[in-house]
């Protein structure tokens, strides 16, 4: 199937700073694609280049199989954008705002009215249609921001950190909404620095840093790329240096620590990690309490790929 987005060898410079360094991105229709990276990694820059808000120094961008330029209004008509900052008119009501942005894409008034109603229902703002944005809470504002971006039923939607500064309830509603849009046929490009969100909703993820794509794949594929396997925590009464040395000597163990109550062992990829660790403890006569075995998280992947925490 033809890529809905094809970015090849994109280079964007701000003076001496390289914001995008021969960046490549290919997204197939129907994907929920996550762009993950710390602030300044180039996520927003690449989106702005794709949307032709920024010029670029080198490379090519195609949307829907056609070269994207600032005057390709036919392609722009098929795209929706939900920016990070709420971008609505403070002077217009909820309904007027959605209608305004929808009208930029759908001139037909009759068709538009139905789309606006649908968008209002989609984000659950039926009770607030006459409200001005200044009367809405942060979560409701975010929903309005989304409704303005999706009312025209775009085939491709960019969500640029849509859950920043949003309460957990509204965040869940937004994430569910994104999945519903995807189920209805829209391809989603989702940028965030909340790894749990990306892990939850994205079918494929790209980890970016310093304008480069460091790794791309599904959640499982990314986790498989790294050497870190499970993290095994065992509640124990005591663990002396001999126990720790024995654990570290295991081929599957990358590290072992004891904080006085919990013995934590970091393992590499392996089939019998828990059994091997428990066997060592039994050999040394260590009485065990509760045992936790956690698979690697996206945070582990990020840490290993970029060498730093995401929120750095």
């Amino acid at each position: 199937m033809e890529d809905i987005i094809a970015v090849d060898n994109l280079v964007k410079r701000y003076g001496d700073v390289i914001a995008l360094d021969h960046f490549n991105l290919h997204i197939a229709p129907g994907e929920v694609f996550g762009l993950l990276g710390p602030n300044g990694s180039g996520k927003t820059t690449v989106i702005n280049c794709m949307l032709q808000l920024l010029t670029y120094d080198k490379g090519s961008i195609s949307l829907f199989g056609e070269s994207m330029t600032p005057v390709r209004y036919d392609l722009k008509r098929r795209v929706g954008i939900v920016p990070q900052n709420v971008a609505v008119f403070e002077e217009l009501t909820v309904r007027q705002n959605i209608d305004y942005f929808c009208a930029l894409y759908v001139p037909d008034k009759g068709r538009r009215a139905a789309l606006v109603d649908e968008a209002i229902a989609f984000v659950g703002l039926e009770d607030y249609v006459r409200f001005r944005p200044r009367k809405l809470s942060g979560g409701l504002l975010r929903r309005l921001n989304i409704a303005c971006g999706i009312a025209h039923k775009p085939e491709l939607i960019f969500f640029d950190e849509p859950t920043v500064a949003v309460d957990p309830q509204s965040r869940n509603a937004i994430l569910e909404g994104i999945l519903r849009l995807n189920a209805q046929g829209s391809t989603i490009v989702y940028t965030s620095h909340y790894m749990e969100e990306v892990e939850d909703i994205c079918t494929r993820i790209m980890i970016m840093d310093q304008g480069r794509a460091l790794a791309t794949g599904t959640n499982d594929e990314l986790k498989a790329m790294i050497g870190t396997g499970e993290r095994i925590r065992v509640e124990v009464d005591a663990a002396d240096d001999a126990v720790l040395r024995a654990l570290r000597a295991l081929p599957c163990v990358a590290g072992a620590t004891f904080d006085g109550a919990v013995l934590e062992t970091t393992c590499g990829n392996g089939q019998h990690n828990v059994a091997d660790v428990l066997a060592v403890l039994a050999t040394h006569g260590v009485a065990t309490g509760r045992i936790y075995a956690e698979p690697p998280t996206l945070n582990d992947v990020f840490l290993e790929v970029t060498g730093k925490e995401l929120r750095d």
Binding site: L53, V71, Y73, E90, Q96, F101
Partner: protein, 409 residues
């Protein structure tokens, strides 16, 4: 027309601005215009009569005669001969001029006139709030001069005879007649003054309304959201411009409509084409605040800034442009400065318009030239606004979301 409608919604969301800046300030203009005397009432000259007081400690024939002469020129008020009462009378304006004739003054004055000895001195005080006291002092000197001349000419004449000759000479006065020239003030000047006052009304109202409208669209994120839409920048810009022009025309129409309703009758005798020229001039002037509002929008100015700029620019432009006080009454530096203010060209155009007796291309040429200069000011401001907007949006491009939020949108 979605952007056009949204732009009007933005303005209409602030009805208080239209009410205060257009309605209230226009009515203020009506009251101020009605209350000031533009020198257009009647054609007869009436000398002003200032209140004065004479403290006569001499009680001579000369002092009484002098007081009687002043009484014909002004309005004598009685003041007690007490230091506090005298100070109060001048300080409160009860008497604009206070004359104290010391004891023995009459005889000494006649003696000095005939012998050439040093003249005795009168004590006098002027009120500081007006020139009226100075004029009364001039009249005192004039009368004493006549007495001095009569006494010197007839060294043996009695005091009564000298004073009679002086009174006879003082009674002779030149006839004063008011002559109307083409440049004289006429009733239509009232309407002209209202339109000139309207520079403040229009500047404040249009700067604020257009500034709000433009700023709403130029908030960085909204601007970007519009930019990624299928609506071209040109179409979007045209719709915003159309909305701004409509708001400008609305402010102009209300301002001029109120003026016509209040002072339309003063335009009797003024050719309709001349009135149209004055009103058209106001519309050309309105382009200046329109471009200032556009500039503020390009800079992303807040509502508070738009209000401040609208008011301050309105007042400064109106004052320096001679809309409130004639430029001729100001110092040479201010007069030079005023040529760099569009208002001065506009006020001149309006004054010239209402004085046109026949509107032809040649008679209207000076007015059109003035309005052309006003239009050039607007064009220059528009160019500056375009550059400012471009610089601002470029700075917002750098650094994605972080920079976008830094621009304060």
């Amino acid at each position: 027309m979605q952007a056009f409608k949204a732009a009007l919604h933005v303005v209409m969301d602030h009805p208080v601005y239209l009410l205060v800046y257009v309605g209230f300030l226009s009515l203020m203009g009506v009251f101020i215009t009605s209350s000031i005397n533009l020198g257009i009432d009647g054609s007869e000259f009436t000398a002003s009569k200032a209140p004065f007081a004479v403290i006569d400690r001499d009680s001579s024939e000369l002092s009484e005669s002098l007081a009687a002469f002043l009484g014909e020129q002004g309005e004598r008020v009685e003041v007690t001969d007490d230091p506090f009462a005298l100070q109060d009378a001048v300080a409160t304006g009860q008497a604009r001029y206070l004359l104290v004739v010391p004891q023995g003054y009459g005889d000494e004055f006649i003696e000095s006139a005939r012998t050439g000895a040093e003249e005795p001195v009168l004590e006098s005080t002027f009120s500081y709030g007006t020139m009226a006291g100075t004029l009364v002092d001039e009249q005192v000197n004039q009368y004493l001069g006549l007495v001095r001349a009569a006494a010197a000419l007839e060294p043996d004449a009695s005091m009564a005879s000298v004073l009679a000759r002086a009174d006879e000479a003082a009674a002779k006065a030149a006839d004063v007649e008011t002559v109307q020239t083409p440049n004289s003030s006429k009733p239509a000047d009232q309407f002209a003054f209202y339109l000139q006052w309207g520079t403040y009304t229009m500047t404040a109202a249009i700067v604020v309304c257009v500034g709000l409208l433009m700023a709403a669209f130029n908030r960085t994120d909204l601007y970007r959201r519009n930019l990624v839409s299928p609506m071209s920048s040109l179409r979007l810009g045209m719709q915003k411009a159309a909305a701004s022009l409509l708001v400008t025309a609305l402010v102009w129409a209300i301002t001029c409509g109120i003026g016509l309703a209040a002072f339309g009758s003063s335009l009797a005798g003024v050719p309709p084409a001349a009135v149209a020229l004055a009103l058209g001039g106001a519309l050309v002037f309105a382009l200046v605040p329109l471009t200032i509002g556009f500039l503020l929008g390009q800079l992303g100015a807040s509502e508070m800034v738009a209000n401040a700029v609208g008011n301050i620019a309105g007042m400064v432009m109106s004052f320096l442009g001679g809309a409130w006080i004639s430029i001729e009454l100001m110092g040479p530096e201010i007069q030079t400065l005023s040529r760099f203010i569009p208002t001065s060209w506009y006020t001149e155009a309006v004054s010239k318009s209402v004085h046109l007796t026949d509107v032809t291309l040649s008679s209207a040429a000076p007015v059109l030239a003035n309005l052309g200069v006003v239009a050039l000011f607007a064009a220059a401001l528009f160019a500056v606004a375009l550059v400012a907007g471009r610089v601002r949006m470029r700075s917002a491009e750098a650094g994605g979301n972080a920079a976008a939020s830094m621009t304060g949108a």
